[in-house]
Amino acid sequence: MNTMLRNSQPIYLDYQATTPLDPRVLEAMMPYFTSKFGNPHSRSHAYGWESEEGVEKARAQVGSIIGADEKEVIFTSGATESNNLAIKGVAEFYKDKRDHIVTAVTEHKCVLDTCRHLEQKGFKVTYLPVQQNGLIDLEQLRAAVTDKTSIVSIMAVNNEIGVVQPLKEIGEICHAKGAFFHTDAAQAVGKIDIDVNAMNIDLLSISGHKIYGPKGIGALYVRRRPRVRLVAQINGGGQERGMRSGTLAPALCVGLGEACAIAQKEMPVEAVRLRKLRDRFLTAIKARLPEVFLNGDLDSRIPGNLNISFAYVEGESLMMGIKRLAVSSGSACTSASLEPSYVLRALGVEEEMAHTSLRIGFGRFTTEEEVDIAVEEIVRHVTKLRDMSPLWEMAQAGVDIKSINWAAH
């Protein structure tokens, strides 16, 4: 990104929402938009073969970053589709013997909504609560999984608070009861080490655009030994081993593969750099602003994520002030629902604190200079808005805000 672009556009600090395409990924994709246009499923001529070659190389690259065999990787349109296919597909296939699903309340909407849908179809679903740090309680999981459970779906890394669940232990608990372990790893792949065998993972969802790859592509890992079976949700020509029909988009597949290859190679260095940037930001903010609170565990967390409540300052008004920064808020006012973040609420963060939260995401193209500008902007506007906040005024005067009988509206 050149300086001109940076000056005219806000500084991008929302890497959990999406990431820009890495130029190296775009370069790998380009031929598949032009000269290598063949249908990868065409077996009768060279156009099909060269397209298929690109797709299969990408499949191996995707498998490699999670320690899986390429035959276990299915391309999809994104993590939402992968999550739908994994949960619906497994639940429907095994429904005669097992009709129970376990998930957690902090999962992404596409997992929760899929589970709600299955509940309406007669499946039983257990929604596990999370602890104050955002992690599930393994004993509660152990108690929830039974010999009627077909699939347990627990995300690897949370999209709002970046916390990393204990995957290996979750997988062990699932397998002890013969249940499959699915994890939504959209926010995890390329950020933390993932090994489907060491971590007892049977199904795993990947998103392209969260790892500097293109939008509109994702993948689902489906274990072959022991074999996980699922009912296809899209029927057609039987592509992707019959689990996901439809002609693949070779350019997108190649982009996802290249994004995985780059992430796998650069992750060790990138993780150290991002942790340094994150710590620089958090240390500066804490030194200069009282009453800021980190949501979610700090240690069991991806390096590029922070979720902070700035007490007594409403999140949307803060975002309106820090318009040089592109971040997102857990406040109600940014959504149509007017409800504050259900993830923060699940941690036990009080509603008034959930309204004051910002999610700040650092990524591959974030610089130290940008982090310093972000600190300055946030400190300046939090201070200004606190001077304008009746709650801050009351807190400074020693009034307990909870002692006031507020009228809900």
Partner: protein, 133 residues
């Protein structure tokens, strides 16, 4: 979400931010909203011997539209009698700031804040009159 220019103007240059002495007999204070709902407004009016609102101050915890609504009404109530100020309707506030439907509750809160401040002033001055007689 793109904001209306008037909302941005009030947010960036809020009028009459601050506090008046809530214990003073010529000041009425309204505190409305709830922290859990994401907006709280404190609106104060100072009433002169002539019965006109001499000064108004606000502090708001809330989104840009809530800040703009409260900032705007402090401008509007100044120089008005209590009866005139009481007639300010949320629809006028919403219209002036071109608030989208999802932000109408901010203007409702601002109307409530004026009414609460006036009620507080009246309750106080009523008490004062009794003491005087």
């Amino acid at each position: 979400m793109a904001y209306n220019d008037k909302v941005i103007d009030h947010y960036e240059h809020p009028r009459n931010v601050g506090s008046l002495d809530k214990d003073s007999s010529d000041v009425g204070t309204g505190l409305v909203g709830a922290p859990a709902c994401g907006d709280v407004m404190k609106l104060q009016i100072k009433v002169g011997a002539d019965g006109l609102i001499q000064d108004a101050k606000f502090k708001t915890f809330g989104c840009g539209s809530a800040i703009a609504s409260s900032s705007l009404v402090t401008e509007w109530v100044k120089g008005k009698t209590l009866d005139e100020a009481e007639k300010i309707r949320n629809t006028e506030i919403a219209k002036h700031l071109a608030l989208p439907p999802v932000k109408i509750h901010c203007s409702v809160l601002a109307e409530d804040a004026i009414k609460a401040a006036i009620a507080d002033y009246r309750a106080k001055s009523g008490k004062d009159e009794k003491v005087a007689s």
